[in-house]
Symmetry: C2
Subunit: 357 residues, 2 copies
């Protein structure tokens, strides 16, 4: 919390308004659901932080770690929560609002400070959260190992004849079996559906000759896993193996480019160049990766806009893909951690093309 | 969608910006997860609506009902999504932003329209969504009946000796058994924990003489259930039955007060008066209820601030409670639907005090 106060001041902010989100979990260990009733942690340079909660959640906050660590103040149903918030804020200046704060709450705060400037709190929070400490690295590693294990168990299953949604349910069970307390997403995209990166698994039955993109993750000790592999059920269709090799090489080259001081933009460019050189540039329709931690997507982004140098302890995905509309898709994704000499892969599942039943 | 365009115009808004949320599901049948990549439906008076999506989600949007019903436009990783959004917006005026839009996206939109006024979209959306049509009423009824059935099955179970968190898991299973596709929350608050309305079930073992507040819900066909009952395991502690009777009477009187034209404030006042008259006014620390539909909490709120007259077809909870710190709590909650002549209870589970094993 002292770090957050210092970072708030260093960023030139008068206060940081932190809504229920991973930011609040990271700062205060408090995880209420985001609701229409305002809950907001206020971090101010040189003053103690204070947590504003609805009166009916006061006992819940008091029972959480936050209750012992900081002052809590309440507002009551029927009162204006934004007036209660305003009493905790400096009169003017720049305020950071946590990226996931609901618009209705941000608009309420802006109504109380019409002349202030509001900016996304990620300016402060991304810097704090993106470098993981050893206990966070341990949880991310455990999550990644569980996801690897779920993948290995899945490919021992006969997929031919199963519907995508059945495979998704199976993946969910395997994630729980391998130590995940929560299943966050299970993309199963077979045949032409693989060309949709965020495909929702549906009623399509997997057939011999289908490439299948599997992209799934959950949480272990609140920290996220996220892995993608593309397998082939029976003989690969024409052109698939070539595309697979390009994606695999792009993933490998991007991984090798990671070290402290290199930017997300540069790592993205390495993957993109491999794919462009092979003639598939227009088919790589997303960034190369995203940070991971308490959230499945967080800073640092491995994308053309990210000019920030990577630092040791940062963790993110490297997941280039090629999407052939109407035919198939390929994506290969590992979570990696930046170390002084380069990077470690947290996922170790096989990246060779697997042909399964 | 035509209704939304008309309501946007009637509210004096130049456009409505709808982020992934129940608003987007209700308007367009599209349910992507809220993410750091901007997805936004733009509703404009007198012009066709348009859905802005990240390029990698274009196939997913095209596969959903929204893809057939409206124009979709994309932005690509590496581009500024807010510039893409600005191309869809009128130059000036008042804009509605959906209540749950993430702050980072609202701030992005405000950056593009620094002189515009932004207001919560609930000004428009609450009016549209709060009166349920027959198919919505049917789903809310099915959800309520499922929750009733889960409660009946639960009270046939011996709770003495079980930990709160075990009862919560059991409630989750019962909700699934009774037709819920999703479990949203399961409050199990025993003995003194009952005084915390949003208590998180923990390791406390339920003992003879414990009142237990049960408050749980999930989704059936995307529509929510939400019911609370307070039961007693063995003999009730001193003073409990008196408090129970007051809450039960408050719940009954508030229910009887519901009819078209009465305001949420008036219904709230009826429950509050019963509790104040009995001397427990300071122990009723929340509003009397909240609307329910695609969200567990939505308009209309049965609270001191709501001056809007109720209309037939509105659905909401009536859930007064009394919280005796350090001792116990009592809350009784039913979902009710406003009809021309008064109100229907969608929940029918017994409201008499149940003494169970």
């Amino acid at each position: 919390m002292v770090l957050a106060q210092e970072a708030t001041e260093a960023e030139g902010l008068s206060a940081l308004l932190v809504a229920p989100s991973a930011d609040l979990v990271w700062l205060a260990g408090y995880e209420p659901p985001p609701l229409e009733r305002l809950t907001c942690l206020v971090v101010r340079p040189g003053r103690d932080p204070v947590l504003l909660v609805p009166e009916l959640e006061r006992p819940r906050a008091a029972d959480s770690p936050v209750g012992k660590r900081m002052e809590t103040t309440v507002w009551r149903d029927g009162e204006d929560p934004y007036e209660a918030l305003a009493r905790l804020l400096p009169g003017e200046g720049r305020f950071g609002a946590s990226d996931q704060m609901w618009a209705v709450h941000l608009l309420g705060a802006q109504r109380m400070r019409p002349h202030a400037e509001f900016v996304p709190a990620s300016a402060v929070m991304a810097r704090l959260r993106s470098v993981k400490d050893p206990s966070e690295l341990e949880l991310l590693s455990r999550a990644a190992r569980g996801a690897d294990e779920a993948f290995r168990k899945l490919v021992d299953t006969r997929l031919e004849g199963l519907r995508e949604e059945e495979v998704a349910v199976l993946l969910g069970s395997l994630l729980r079996e391998t130590g995940h307390e929560e299943v966050s997403f299970t993309v199963v995209a077979s045949g032409p559906n693989g060309a949709s990166p965020h495909h929702e698994p549906g009623g399509r039955a997997i057939r011999a000759g289908d490439p299948v993109v599997l992209d799934f993750g959950g949480r272990v000790g609140r920290y996220c896993s996220d892995i993608s592999r593309t397998v082939c059920v029976g003989h690969a269709p024409k052109g698939f193996e070539e595309v697979y090799d390009v994606v695999r090489e792009a993933q490998e080259e991007a991984f090798r480019a990671v070290r402290p001081g290199v930017t997300g933009r540069e790592v993205d460019a390495v993957a993109r160049e491999v794919i462009e050189r092979a003639g598939y540039g227009e088919r790589f329709i997303h960034r190369t990766g995203h940070g991971i931690g308490l959230e499945a997507h967080e800073s640092p982004y491995i994308s053309p806009e990210n000019e920030e140098p990577l630092r040791a302890g940062m963790c993110f995905s490297i997941e280039p893909g090629i999407y052939m509309e109407g035919r198939f898709g390929v994506r290969i994704e590992d979570i990696v951690a930046v170390i002084e000499t380069g990077a470690n892969r947290l996922n170790r599942a096989d990246r060779d093309l697997l042909t399964i039943a």
